[in-house]
């Protein structure tokens, strides 16, 4: 056996290496140097270089490490989403961290570690590597959730996420073990090739394994009934971290779900029923419970559950069009959800903030532009044209209808109707609410400005000129599995 075969290709994982290396540099330097601004800058640099390297890999599918690492358009697309999420999170986090006295360099390190984990998750067809990626992603998340050590809520959030996350991971590992038992391999491509044979031979083992794997990822994307940790964790975690949670791990979870369950187990028609049920439950529970939240982070937590439901609609529909609509939706969701969280972060940075919706009252009077952007993001979340939210929903729903899931679409449309209520509530509070006392102004830095600019432009660009982006998401279908 010659280890030095062509299978080892450092260029293949250069983005991951760069990001990991800068994470470690920041980790070490941070113990010596006091300047946290420098740490943030180095991290940003690492992420941007990583982004550039990832973009180089577009449209040149290649695999290495004995098929364990795969850089097709699908993984490149998702890697871009993850890195962008990390960058925007970093930009929005800085002022918040300073305001809350938790400006630690570990934050940046953990953010990058987690990003690398996600990239590995999206960039492999081997269940073991996907699992490794999941854990590399998750462990930093647990720490980040509990980062505000003096805040009991943050502690609670971290511990809960950790415990439940570990619990859910065990389902995933168990599922992978069963699949291995059924097929003798952890490579999805081989499982897929032999699917009909394996199904005859050991159907129960195969299906149980597949469903357990699905449970594990359903936890990560916060599908009902695996969602119950979400509100508690989102509420307690520092606000920028919550923003990161609501996009990054969710997108990673969906990347894995798409790769494994929609594509890998495409021979398993029965999964459609499961997805159908999950989608309906997730949408209904997420939207209905979001109505009653007074805490904006909790509200956005339920909202993110609901959005997972919409994406599950696309997964139910199956087929290339539906998958590309899901991918498109995730891209759109990244922009407007992070945009919303950026504004919540800005408002939360004020001292004495409790993330209540009432605290937004009077925003429009003091910061009209900020309030308009908030309205833009809320309208996008609710799915109004001409925002990305509308086009995303439109693609998903029309794909669902085309594949004959009319009732599912009706339920989904009704749900998005319900969602208008609670998103509008935020807008109404910002524009029409009378604050109890004078709205204390928020501070505003160039980093925040860039974060808002990127998210707002993305939200509008995907909403007004969806053609180009949709083409991108169609190109990121799997050329190799």
């Amino acid at each position: 056996m010659d280890i030095r075969s062509a299978a080892i290709d450092l260029g293949l994982i250069s983005p991951e290496i760069i990001i990991l290396a800068s994470a470690m540099v920041v980790l070490l330097l941070g113990t010596v140097l006091k300047s946290r601004g420098l740490m943030a800058f180095l991290s940003l640099l690492g992420l941007v270089v990583g982004l550039v390297l990832v973009l180089q890999q577009w449209s040149q599918p290649q695999s290495g490490y004995y098929g364990m690492v795969l850089k097709d358009n699908f993984s490149v697309f998702f890697s871009v989403v993850f890195i962008m999420t990390a960058i925007i999170t970093l930009l929005m986090a800085r002022d918040y961290l300073i305001a809350k006295h938790i400006d630690r360099h570990e934050f940046y390190t953990l953010l990058m570690f987690s990003t690398v984990g996600m990239m590995l998750m999206a960039g492999s067809t081997d269940l073991v590597v996907i699992f490794l990626g999941l854990e590399i992603m998750s462990v930093p998340l647990y720490v980040m959730a509990g980062m505000n050590k003096i805040d009991p809520k943050s502690n609670e959030s971290g511990i809960k996420y950790f415990m439940i996350g570990a619990f859910a991971s065990s389902f995933l590992v168990f599922g992978i073990a069963l699949l291995y038992g059924a097929s003798g391999t952890t490579d999805l491509r081989r499982i897929m090739a032999d699917f009909s044979f394996l199904k005859m031979q050991s159907e129960l083992l195969l299906y149980s394994g597949a469903l357990l794997v699905m449970t594990g990822f359903a936890f990560k994307v916060a599908a009902v009934p695996f969602h119950m940790w979400v509100p508690d964790v989102y509420e307690g975690a520092p606000t920028p971290v919550t923003g990161f949670f609501s996009v990054g791990p969710k997108a990673a979870g969906f990347a894995a779900l798409l790769r494994i369950c929609v594509y890998g187990f495409s021979g398993m028609a029965e999964l459609t029923a499961v997805f159908w049920l999950l989608a309906v439950l997730t949408m209904v529970v997420g939207n209905v419970l979001a109505i009653f939240q007074n805490n904006i982070k909790r509200m956005l937590a339920y909202s993110s559950i609901a959005h997972a439901g919409y994406i599950l609609v696309a997964l139910t529909a199956g087929g290339e069009g539906a998958v590309s609509s899901a991918v498109y939706y995730l891209l759109a969701y990244m922009f407007f959800n992070l945009g919303g969280f950026t504004i919540v972060t800005i408002i939360d940075s004020r001292t004495g903030s409790n993330s209540q919706i009432d605290e937004i009252k009077g925003l429009a009077g003091r910061h009209p532009y900020l309030a308009s952007l908030l309205a833009l993001f809320m309208f996008a979340l609710a799915g109004f044209p001409p925002t990305a939210g509308f086009m995303g929903k439109f693609y998903i729903f029309s794909e669902a209808v085309r594949n004959g899931f009319v009732w599912l679409t009706v339920i989904a449309v009704m749900n998005s109707l319900v969602s208008v209520f609670y998103y509008l509530r935020v807008v109404v509070a910002a524009f029409f609410g009378k604050p109890d006392q004078e709205f204390s102004p928020v501070s505003f830095s160039p980093a925040l400005f860039i974060a808002l600019l990127v998210t707002a432009v993305g939200t509008l660009a995907l909403g007004c000129f969806p053609g180009y982006w949709l083409e991108l998401s169609q190109m990121s279908m799997f050329p190799i599995i």
Partner: protein, 120 residues
């Protein structure tokens, strides 16, 4: 049969460990001094009192060191299989392991830098 041949050393190790443990226990039963106190009768829980309120305060330093030890201990285990086939891996394997050790060292220096190993 060939399975048996392959796994025989492991089986042997298993039996040998069992015998060794048995012998040590036997020796201490035969020759040890027997003092029966309440603390000695408790089940062993890594230094924690097994029964009592969960709201108890306890010094965290011990656990920190213990956890760090376990982490580095487990990582070092990876060095053994590498050492066994070092010849076959050659320069490439050496560089790989170097990277691995550097990553470990980053963690180690971070721990040092944070002062996690200072007892006071």
């Amino acid at each position: 049969m060939e399975h048996f041949n392959t796994f025989f050393p492991i089986f042997f190790l298993f039996v040998f460990a069992a015998i060794l443990a048995g012998v040590f226990l036997l020796l201490s039963v035969l020759f040890g001094r027997k003092t029966k106190t309440a603390a000695k009768g408790d089940p062993y829980e890594s230094g924690m009192k097994p029964i009592g309120t969960t709201r108890e305060r306890f010094p965290v330093r011990f656990y920190l060191v213990a956890i760090l030890f376990i982490i580095f201990d487990i990582e070092v285990v990876f060095l053994y299989p590498w050492a066994v086939i070092y010849d076959k891996l050659g320069m490439f394997g050496f560089m790989e392991m170097l990277v691995f050790v550097v990553i470990l060292l980053v963690g180690y220096f971070y721990v040092l830098g944070k002062g996690a190993l200072k007892w006071d």
